[in-house]
């Protein structure tokens, strides 16, 4: 029932009739509520804060007591502004007020929220005299309503016991925040939101003490925080640092026997004569494309392969731990000098029969270590033999691989190295710290710095993935590349964590020297004479001064030269961080074939050896065969080509005439298997395919369709220049196709287009021996470090920030003094830290993070003063203290004034419900919400302002996350039953009110509370269905209701 009452209807009626009208209704509590609704159709109604009935306040106090006893002391209400006589709070003193007061007095059903307003005669009580006074004022005249009066807003100036909970039509002084709202605000900003226990803790020690604790995280003991420590421990592995010395390298030449027949019984003995066995480079196998010696006939024919190799040890006493490192598919047994030393756990038989199969699948991909130190006694000085039998899981298996190596491993003393497996593990680590650490401010700031100095772990991974070792084999697979990238990012993050409240200069310097940053912003490509500006721009624009503050484009160009030569290198762990430590790999090269004469060549105006059997001529590789008759070809020398002036044989007619030139050369090789690492060294323009004895052995990336000879009129599908550098191709896998004696190297070289201005081919063959003491790019025991390449640095003078107070003049430095060259950049960093634009930019960012998207100028000035007051400048702890104790931080207008970013949303949600997560699945949710830490492409970091995080897609994915989280899907769990019983809540009202208090500091309105209770107490069609633990679906219904409470717009604010 909605009663439409228009106050004008009653004007002129006498008092007695009015009473009759009221009493004539059967007035129930419900009808009074409806009455209230009818009246509040007033167009001015509904603005401002809705009144809160005392009953609900009481309810809250009771529930709040369970949460934190002292938090819910009654709100001070003495200074509420109101208009006297307006008992029904509709902004007008009229007949309805008298009716409302009478209903309150005599029927007892109207709820007065502002007793001061109802006290029309200001006699300190609400009684019959008040409606009479109001009626007198309205209809008889001469009655004066005491201050503040009927049309002015003001407080009650009389000292009386009456209360006014709220009065929405008058401007109010912002209410003094309660302790709970203050604590909520503090934990929303310096922590990832409140937890029940954190609220208790702050209540206990006080806000000021809590801030001081958080500013000094080292005073917070986390050694007992098992919630944090066990989860962190689950996210990484620990490895004792070690140095490996290769005794028998992977990818080397072995004798092998195909298991079509059993080998002689002494095949694994040192004295066995294996000269009749085949030779081939490991890995040996088929399928998966990961084998160098491919056993084309193995599938469906035989299940085992026997391999053996002799190796020399000068002094067995130099062997430390003995490790068999082996990549295999599917099983193996290994023998040292005739005695079994280890085997995979999926093969049986001693020894397994030649036709045995593995008990299970095992996929190759990364070598696994088997520690066989206890069999070291089998080694002898001089010649030793390692022999292995590898077995497939079945005859029809799609792949087989065996690739062993032997290592002497020296375990170093010291702390174990913490290693994360992949990028997701470090993303999970950040969540775990954010959710479970008690050093919340430190973690919030670490995440802030990580974002400020953002690097893209995926770009680092791609960089590592493309590296070669000095033997021209890939330095590492993609798994190792991701693992190394993740650990480089983790190392960076740990520094940001350890120094989160330290000095800004330390952070900036660390970031500049961090291998991830050097790779991410292309400083590894910043060379003298060919500067790459990427890092120079961003250190000014994003890391220190801020965009367009106090520098110009010329400064960026100068800064780029300052940073030339700053690069990365993999070094021994003890050299990490030393830019001048020795770097690289030592090897000795023997030239097998140099540039020069002896070549035959054929101009590709047509196919040299077409197959004309079909309708169209098809290219073949017959021209590359050893027995091809090249006597009609022209004689020439390498390099060959035109343009660029790098050619000994110039093809002056090639441009606009033909795409391809074909080359052949005979090479004498006494013993192919004597090579250590046979490398094809190539400089080329624009593409090539190389053959030995007619078999394709190398191809540039610019030529498509590997394995098919390109036709004579094929163009390279990209430009490639000679000065892009030398490319190496390891040919060990093709030693088997070489003959002792004469072999033929053949190359077809293609241009990118007919009109191209140049073409080149400069081939060499070298044999490379890698020397001891080298740290290869792929060495798992090395560490990536800043490295200064003196030859790549520009030692000339530089001037930055010309004419500004912080102008920097760098004089010409002496070439050959790397320390001085390097110092140019550290001097620049010092200037950046000390200069005013940096103070303003970093202080502004911190204020934006912790106070408001709009930076209050007064607070900015205070922070800058604090920044400048320390030596060195930029003490973050002091700046943070200034912010957290400022008026601006504690101004009520800044409470819940910021929008949570996805990291804050997820962490605060798990914390609020005290949920359990190992963090592993959270990165996917983050990504859906549009944020992926450690892998952002752009260098500017994730945005801080709220406008960037409000979108339909964002809201949807936040809701999906809370739906999954509350429903216990995926790998996190929220133990709903425990949560309910711990907090002694069960009914819809109890649950809603409890979460209103714990999530929202009791700021939800009655209309919102009603909607939530309706949701919990109805079925899917909104038909009534009570919520009771007796029901089988009680828990899922509670979970959906809690999910809804975390889907509210309010939950996006902090």
């Amino acid at each position: 029932m909605v009663v439409h009452w228009n106050s004008r209807t009653f004007i002129g009626r006498d008092y007695g009739n009015l009473l009759l009208v009221i009493i004539g209704f059967t007035i129930t509590k419900r009808s009074i509520r409806e009455l209230g609704k009818g009246i509040s159709m007033n167009p001015n109604a509904g603005k401002g804060r809705t009144t809160i009935p005392p009953l609900r306040l009481l309810m809250r106090s009771l529930l709040g007591a369970a949460l934190a006893v002292t938090l819910f002391s009654s709100t001070a209400t003495a200074d509420i502004n109101f208009k006297r006589g307006d008992s029904n709070v509709d902004d007008a003193v009229d007949i309805t007020d008298a009716i409302f007061s009478l209903s309150y007095l005599f029927i007892g059903n109207a709820e007065i929220t502002c007793f001061d307003a109802a006290d029309a005669n200001d006699d300190g009580q609400v009684d019959i005299s008040d409606p009479l006074t109001a009626l007198g004022y309205l209809f008889t005249g001469g009655v004066i309503i005491p201050a503040p009066g009927v049309s002015e807003c003001g407080p009650d100036e009389t000292d009386d016991p009456l209360d006014c909970v709220s009065y929405e039509h008058c401007p109010q002084e912002p209410p003094e925040p309660t302790d709970l709202t203050k604590i909520g605000h503090l934990l929303n900003r310096i922590a990832y939101g409140p937890t029940l226990s954190a609220v208790d803790y702050v209540t206990e020690i006080g806000i000021d003490a809590y801030i001081e604790e958080q500013l000094n995280p080292e005073t917070i003991d986390e050694s007992e925080n098992t919630d944090l420590l066990t989860r962190l421990a689950d996210l990484h592995n620990e490895r004792q640092p070690s140095i490996d010395r290769t005794i028998l390298p992977p990818s080397s030449i072995w004798r092998f026997h195909r298991g079509t027949t059993p080998p002689p019984s002494n095949w694994d003995e040192p004295e066995f004569d294996d000269s009749a066995w085949e030779m081939g480079a490991t890995s040996i196998g088929y399928g998966d494309g990961d084998d160098i010696t491919v056993l084309e006939d193995m599938e469906d024919t035989y299940t085992s392969v026997y391999i053996r190799k002799e190796f020399q040890i000068a002094d067995i006493n130099t062997i430390d731990r003995l490790i068999l490192s082996i990549d295999y598919d599917d099983s193996f047994v290994a023998y040292l000098n005739g005695t079994e030393i280890t085997r995979s756990n999926n093969i049986s038989g001693t020894p397994p029969a030649y036709n045995a199969t593995s008990g299970g699948n095992h996929e190759a991909g990364e070598a696994e270590d088997f520690d066989v130190t206890n069999r070291k006694n089998l080694l002898v000085n001089g010649a030793n033999v390692l022999a292995l039998q590898g077995h497939n899981t079945s005859l029809g298996s799609s792949d087989f691989t065996i690739n062993p190596s032997l290592i002497s491993r020296e375990i170093l003393p010291g702390e174990p190295i913490i290693e994360y497996e992949d990028l997701d593990a470090i993303k999970a680590m950040v969540h775990v710290r954010g959710i479970y650490s008690d050093r919340q401010l430190q973690v919030v700031l670490a995440d802030f710095w990580e974002n400020h100095f953002t690097t893209d772990g995926e770009k680092v991974m791609e960089y590592l993935d493309e590296l070669q070792n000095s033997d021209a084999n890939d330095a590492m697979g993609s798994d190792q590349a991701e693992r190394e990238a993740a650990n480089m990012e983790a190392r960076e993050y740990e520094f940001f964590l350890d120094n989160a409240l330290g000095n800004f200069g330390d952070l900036l310097r660390f970031s500049a020297e961090s291998p991830t940053m050097l790779i991410y912003l292309d400083n590894v490509l910043n060379f003298k004479g060919n500067a790459n500006e990427n890092y120079a721009r961003e250190i000014l624009e994003l890391h220190s001064f801020g965009v367009d503050r106090g520098y110009i484009q010329d400064d960026i160009e100068e800064a780029a030269e300052v940073f030339t030569g700053w690069n990365v290198c993999k070094v021994l762990p003890e050299d990490q961080g030393d830019p001048h430590a020795s770097c690289g790999v030592q090897y000795s090269d023997t030239t097998i074939l140099d540039l020069g004469a002896g070549w035959k060549y054929f101009k590709g105006t047509e196919e040299p050896t077409p197959d004309n059997s079909g309708e169209e001529p098809v290219p073949t590789t017959q021209w590359a065969d050893p027995d091809f008759d090249d006597s009609t070809w022209l004689d020439g020398s390498t390099g060959i080509g035109y343009g660029d002036g790098d050619d000994a044989t110039v093809l002056s007619d090639m441009r606009n005439n033909y795409y391809t030139v074909y080359l052949r050369r005979e090479i004498e090789i006494p013993d192919p298997f004597a090579f250590k690492n046979l490398l094809l060294e190539m400089q080329y323009d624009d593409g090539f395919v190389a053959y030995i004895n007619g078999v394709e052995v190398a191809r540039s990336e610019t030529m498509e369709d590997e394995g098919e000879p390109p036709a004579f009129d094929t163009d390279a599908d990209d430009n490639h220049e000679v000065d892009e550098g030398i490319e190496y191709f390891n040919l060990n896998r093709y030693l088997g196709i070489m003959q002792p004696g004469t072999n033929v190297l053949a190359i077809q070289v293609h241009n990118g287009s007919l009109g191209s201005s140049d073409l080149s081919c400069l081939p060499r063959l070298i044999d490379r021996e890698i020397l001891e003491g080298s740290v290869e790019n792929g060495d798992p025991n090395g560490q990536w470090s800043i490295h200064f390449f003196p030859d790549l640095h520009d030692y000339g003078s530089k001037r930055l920030f010309d004419g500004r107070p912080y102008q920097l003049n760098i004089p010409t430095k002496p070439e050959g003094n790397p320390q001085m060259g390097y110092a140019s950049a550290t001097d620049l960093i010092d200037i950046l830290v000390d200069s005013p634009p940096t103070a303003e930019f970093i202080c502004g960012k911190l204020i934006q993070k912790f106070v408001n998207d709009e930076i209050p100028p007064s607070l900015l000035a205070e922070c800058i003063a604090t920044w400048n007051s320390s030596t060195p400048k930029g003490n973050i702890k002091e700046v943070m203290r200034t912010i957290l104790t400022s008026e601006e931080f504690w101004a009520e207008e800044n409470y819940r004034a910021k929008v949570k970013d996805p990291l804050e949303f997820i962490n605060s949600t798990v914390r609020a419900l005290e949920g359990d997560t190992d963090g592993r699945d959270l990165p996917d949710y983050m990504e859906d919400m549009g944020m992926h830490i450690f892998t952002r492409d752009e260098p500017d970091g994730w945005p801080e302002t709220g406008v960037d995080w409000i979108s339909t897609g964002g809201i949807l994915n936040r809701i999906k996350f809370v739906q999954d989280f509350t429903a216990n899907t995926e790998d996190f769990s929220w133990e709903t039953q425990l949560f309910l019983s711990d907090n002694e809540i069960e009914t819809s009202e109890e649950i809603v009110n409890f979460l209103d208090a714990s999530l929202y500091q009791s700021t939800l309105r009655t209309d919102e509370i009603d909607i939530l209770n309706e949701f919990l107490t109805t079925d899917n069609n909104y038909n009534n269905r009570a919520l009771s633990p007796a029901q089988g679906d009680y828990i899922p219904r509670v979970q959906t209701g809690v999910s809804l409470m975390l889907s509210l717009p309010q939950w996006n604010f902090q």
Binding site: L525, R896, V899, D1007
Partner: protein, 451 residues
């Protein structure tokens, strides 16, 4: 009571007013045919933002500039083509000056049909070479960093073209691009089938509940999102609440229309790029065909080519060429009412750097395609480009702009959407002052055929 969009947004000048206006927001009516534009259907615009800064000199080669040579671009230099409609050598654009990068060959037919304007030397005065700043600038249309409203959001609010449209725009992107941010909430998603809540249809229906309206109490999520904002005077309230409502509305349309790149069957001759870019383009075509959504935005990243640009551009430009071909083919029935445009925050250094890439610079290329476009090459011919102009900025290092990007957008707003000067003044603030300071930059090119 039905409040039209227009009046809603007018009352919604500030955040406070917005959050209060919500209770009165009527449920939108979808699938209503809009008033036909001059050519029949509603006017459509798909924009592709190439994030990172596309090297316009590589995409559209100024062959007539002698400084375009192997000295300045040792590895990036593209030699002249000789085989038509194949990816071999640059493609003639018909004016003996400009040539298209060979890997964009898939769209050459769109150009040769006269349906594509290739506008070179697009930029603005005082070009920022920061990604962040320049993207903001392009997407806001103004340098005012405090104006947190994207140019297409302002257009939707101000232009009469969109007043009757309850779902005028969608961003096919997991985060909402700046160009779409603002008071009018624009839905965004990257994969339509994921654009829904968990649960069965009836569970979702209950969760969403219903909006508050006169005489109707709200229920569930919508009941709260259509209520008065908590702390209404604090930042972002109105935007958050309205966005939640827009989410629910848009999810309904996407579900009802079955938008799904997996099941969508495009025109058989459309050569969509592979991967997520192609999937987004397919969704764009499907949305244009089945709804009245008028503006769609797609991001295409990867253009920050400081290193090995040649190889990167091979893939990127190939995708762009296919994108234009696919849209022209798949949307041929509405092609006269459709524009597909590309934009990027800046061009790149005219000289190649030491890493076979290019660094941040100034002017670059925009492509504008549609059935009603005055096709051709703009700002890259003998009359507009002097020898050596690839180094025409005052520091002698970069390509200087001739046309301001906002002048091009003005033509689109005027001649495609039919907006008048008063609307344009609101959508592009300081229009007159900008034009006065840069008369050439704001000279109308005549990109769209007049009705």
């Amino acid at each position: 009571m039905t409040i039209k969009r227009r009046s809603f947004l007018q009352t919604a000048g500030g955040l406070t007013a917005l959050s209060l206006g919500l209770n009165a927001w009527a449920p939108p009516v979808f699938k209503r045919r809009l008033l036909a534009g001059p050519a029949g259907g509603p006017k459509r615009l798909l924009f592709i933002f190439q994030r990172g800064g596309m090297d316009g000199i590589n995409a559209v080669i100024p062959r007539g500039d002698a400084e375009y040579n192997t000295d300045n671009r040792p590895t990036l230099y593209v030699s002249e083509g000789e085989v038509e409609n194949t990816p071999y050598g640059s493609l003639d654009l018909g004016n003996n000056f400009a040539q298209l990068h060979p890997r964009m060959y898939r769209m050459i037919d769109v150009f040769r049909a006269g349906h594509m304007a290739v506008v070179h030397r697009v930029g603005y005065r005082g070009q920022s070479r920061s990604h962040f700043d320049s993207q903001q600038y392009y997407e806001n249309g103004t340098r005012d960093r405090n104006l947190e409203v994207g140019i297409f959001n302002r257009l939707i609010q101000e232009s009469s073209t969109f007043q009757e449209n309850s779902l005028p725009a969608i961003a096919l992107s997991s985060s909402l691009p700046v160009a779409f941010r603002g008071l009018a909430p624009v839905p965004n998603f990257s994969n339509a089938p994921d654009f829904k809540l968990r649960g069965t249809d009836s569970q979702v229906a209950k969760y969403l509940g219903r909006k508050r309206d006169e005489g109707i109490t709200g229920r569930g999520l919508l009941g709260i999102y259509t209520g008065e904002a908590d702390d209404a005077t604090k930042p972002y309230r109105g935007q958050m609440y309205r966005t939640g409502v827009a989410l629910a509305d848009a999810m309904k349309v996407i579900k009802d229309e079955g938008i799904d790149p997996e099941t969508y069957v495009p025109h058989p001759d459309a050569l969509y790029p592979s991967g997520s870019f192609g999937d987004k383009l397919k969704q764009a075509a499907q949305i244009f065909k089945s709804t009245d959504v008028q503006i769609l935005g797609i991001n295409k990243g990867g253009w920050d080519t400081h290193t090995n640009q040649g190889r990167a551009h091979n893939g990127l430009l190939y995708d762009m060429g296919r994108a234009f071909q696919a849209m022209a083919t798949d949307l041929q029935d509405m092609w006269d009412d459709t524009l597909v445009i590309s934009m990027t925050e800046f061009g790149r250094t005219s000289k190649e750097n030491g890493s076979f890439g290019t660094d941040h610079a100034e002017a670059t290329v925009m492509f504008i395609a549609g059935g009603n476009v005055n096709g051709g090459v703009y700002n890259c011919d003998e009359t507009t480009w002097s020898d050596g102009d690839i180094f025409s900025t005052s520091n002698g290092r970069y390509l200087a702009h001739r046309t301001d990007f906002r002048s091009i957008l003005t033509e689109i707003f005027e001649d495609h959407f039919g907006d008048n000067a008063s609307v344009l003044d609101k959508v592009i603030p300081d229009r007159a002052a900008l034009a006065a300071a840069d008369p050439l930059g704001f000279t109308k090119l005549g990109l769209i055929k007049q009705a």
